[in-house]
Symmetry: C3
Subunit: 395 residues, 3 copies
């Protein structure tokens, strides 16, 4: 057996993993062992894929995706992750379905779940809504299972909500582990999670929140930077602080990109909308106040425009460790002079970093497959072991 | 082997089943043995699913769905039923396809069928059109097969038309069989299939027609109730009368919900549009008479509004056998004070019945899988036997 | 083993096939051996399908389709071809994806390709754009593979571009081979590829160009006919002339349907837009000149209307060899008095030819499956041999 696979399997066998039949909604609801298990399984699957080995674990079964926001990469990550483990994909398109007719979430959740293994949901537009909706679906299928409506309880996987984006940040972490040569190598490394200017409005908070919530558990020095007014959800900031203390890393909030970048080993410059604006937006949406929404968008874009200097450019990159920090982005980035006149990152910085950002994205399908195996199989490590040993080629 | 599976297999082996390479469009076009076979196979598949067993019968092959009306549950039932037996799903979206360019049904039917096992069609909007369209598709692929265009003739499965809704009523029958403990226990039971008030317009006639066409074959006492003017298609009413005589049950039409409910063991209160209105609507649609259609909708909603008392509430439920009839609905129901101010059923009645209606719906994917096996396999019972014995787990 | 399969396998084993990990964009970029291999593999798969044998070659993997124009038959051909070899289908709907947000082709191509075997693209609307776009996607995944972003390089399959329509013309060639009893029987046969009148505007040039580019390689007498002003791309016409010389057939351009039909063994009357008009259209589209586009459409339809006599009718069919040429069409045809008042073909001619055109279309799913096997497998002939010998039934 391939050395990477053997090493990972041995570590996996010693972990306490309690993810069977559970949802995966926020990384901080899962133990360190479970986080490690996701990374190790994802790495095994990536290695198997490289070797041409099949890791099909299901003979039949459905994976359902519910996308309440546009998406290319997450959509295809989920589609390919489901296909690779042997599940058929069905998209619940709310335009096509009777949800538009006022069906309750409880009913729909059960109706789509009779033969379903996993439901991936992306719902990141409304602060206070996305994660809540996922839990509502989870509670509905839990209830359906307990009352013998469902033969099994499907798992909900968060494909991005208003709070966290676990498939992204876990893929980011696999990338960091691979790039730096192990989780232990991340201890003491400085990561700059910073706001960046974008000409667009209303980008979700899930990535910066997910990053400070997860990376503080790796003993990293997490530096969060944003212009005054672009705060994140206070609870997640509190969590990051506690993590930093518990895992002997650090967490700071600074108000310039330069301060965060100085000495950083990793930079993650990315735009987001201020927490308070997103709250006002949700309230206006619930009231159906269109003029109010227009006014808010105008106000917000005007605010953004005051911070055009928050661009990741060569000068700022020079401040990082050896002037050579790893640049990360969840893609697509707003690239100055490419996708917009002025954006999150300069063309030269992005051109230099592009291939690494593609590799970063490339871990997502394996992370999602890993989450499916970990939440759907009673003994995922034994199954992985068996799939490696059976040596079935994909073609 | 599990006792349920063994018992069902033994009964199945004695039935005369002639469904191979046929369509499944109306329950009354199929023999009693064939109806029993659908129920028994569906029960076996449900049991296998509960046990974690795979019933994948196809290595490859396509199941195509054509939905000419919105749907969540039927869409997902078909998707999961196709996936469970091993077929890939492809949706013919008429917006996306060249059907919009005036292709004839005959040509399209052949073009999508070269590697297709089954075509599921939902077309329930226009009276006189849906079932006719399904037969046109069936005739086209029959002709294509006979003339060596197609290597095999796919089967058409009616996922709801203007006349019948066989996958729904057969799932309803599996539910009744399970709930009461056997088909023979249904003999003499009273079922009230009644109209109910809804604030929406144009609901299809397929469920009440399908129910009176099928349940009269079980020796049940079928009581159909509706306000004057809400007649069903006369041919189906005639059929129900003949069935009642032949199978020694009974069939009556009454004009109050109360009359139907009195002494009923099962109640199925559900709104539908009057047959004559649907006829006028089809004619207006064919002429493209928009003002006429608006006027008809107004007239029809005004008529509906006169019958708001046709709500299934606690008082009416008290009239049923032991005040405890089984409440059925094909979902989604119009629930008073939940999905509308006033609807088909009161909140308290529905809350009490909800879980049973979910279970009722839960048989549909297994019924559809059963129809696929019965229409596509030369010897479906032998295949089922083999799939039980091979003991392959789904994961 | 079945004789057809055995014969084809023996021929296949002697061919030089270099299609592994390559794209399939234009038939004339592939050697005679490779063209023969596509036909032979497609015929084997069709035969296996007829025998009920599975030719599933992949355990898991994705086939992605990108359709930038409406399509029924190509969409379902690709879906069924992918399913039959064991791949899951995912459609990149550009409306749903972030391509609408200005993502670059390079990034998207990589993002959808992490676990992808094949990307089928239809992009035939803009002259100079479709084939270029396919090559851009191909270059992007080539680069991604070389830089370790992708574990494998997916193959791009042209499902119709502005230059060629290889899956159509190769299916046409399998049809001709089958109809006349072998490729060698085509030598010296006359095929009339002629323009025909249609009341619609802007039909692509890919079919006539693909036909003259491919059939001149079979030693056929290719007669291209169109009214003055309906020229094809000059480079493809040059290619056809060179092919005719090299393969000892002939190529001529005539200006009446009658001249082309006279003595023809095969006729392929089909409308297209003039090359020069398509060029002007692309320029207007790029400028976003809507009035200019409207004016061009009007002008073009007026031009078309002058050539209503270019209809394939009984009188013209009488000019063909024994008055009995094989009528071909890629479907859907504009049939006079059926899909339009006056079109490409008269009702009587089409009615007589319909079944043959359906059979012609029926080879496309097998051609696409053949292209997938030939581009994705290191040794496709050995795999085909193994799949025939393993004798797994589809159901």
């Amino acid at each position: 057996m391939n050395a990477t696979l053997q090493t990972n399997l041995e570590i996996l066998k010693k972990l306490q993993i309690g993810t069977y039949n559970k949802d995966f909604l926020l990384t901080w609801e899962h133990s360190d062992d479970e986080i490690k298990a996701v990374l190790l399984v994802a790495e095994c699957l990536s290695e198997m894929h490289k070797l041409g080995l099949s890791y099909r674990a299901f003979d039949t079964g459905l994976a359902i995706s519910i996308f309440r926001d546009k998406s290319t990469r997450t959509r295809f990550s989920f589609a390919s992750a489901a296909n690779a483990v042997g599940l058929g994909l069905s998209d619940l398109d709310e335009e096509k379905s009777q949800i538009a007719h006022g069906e309750t979430v409880r009913e729909t959740a059960n109706m789509i779940s009779f033969l379903t293994e996993v439901i991936g949901i992306r719902d990141d537009i409304f602060l206070g809504e996305g994660n809540r909706y996922m839990r509502e679906v989870g509670a509905a299928v839990e209830d359906g299972f307990k009352k013998n409506v469902l033969h099994q309880r499907p798992s909900i996987i968060n494909l991005q909500c208003d709070i966290d984006h676990p498939t992204q940040t876990l893929a980011d972490l696999v990338h960091l582990k691979t790039y730096f040569g192990g989780l232990e190598k991340l201890r003491g490394k400085k990561i700059a999670m910073t706001w960046a200017y974008s000409p667009s409005y209303g980008k979700p908070l899930s990535v910066p929140q997910g990053i400070i919530g997860l990376m503080t558990r790796m003993g990293m020095k997490v530096s969060l930077a944003y212009p005054k007014g672009y705060e994140l959800i206070p609870e997640v900031v509190e969590l990051a602080k506690k993590n930093a203390a518990k895992y002997q890393g650090s967490f700071e909030i600074v108000d310039t990109m330069e301060a965060a970048f100085t000495g950083a080993d990793i930079v993650y410059p990315k735009s987001w909308a201020p927490y308070q604006v997103m709250q006002r937006r949700t309230a206006l949406l619930q009231k159906g106040d269109k003029p109010g929404l227009s006014a808010l968008e105008k106000e917000c874009l005007a605010n953004n425009a005051q911070h055009q200097a928050w661009e990741c450019d060569d000068a700022k990159m020079k401040l990082t460790a050896n002037g050579n920090a790893l640049y990360m982005h969840c893609l697509p980035a707003d690239i100055s002079d490419v996708s917009c006149a002025r954006g999150e990152v300069s063309k030269t910085v992005f051109d230099h970093a592009r291939i690494e950002t593609y590799k970063q994205a490339g871990f997502k399908p394996f992370v999602i497959s890993a989450l499916i195996l970990l939440t759907r199989l009673q003994n995922p490590v034994a199954k992985l072991d068996e799939m490696i040993r059976r040596n079935v080629m994909r073609k």
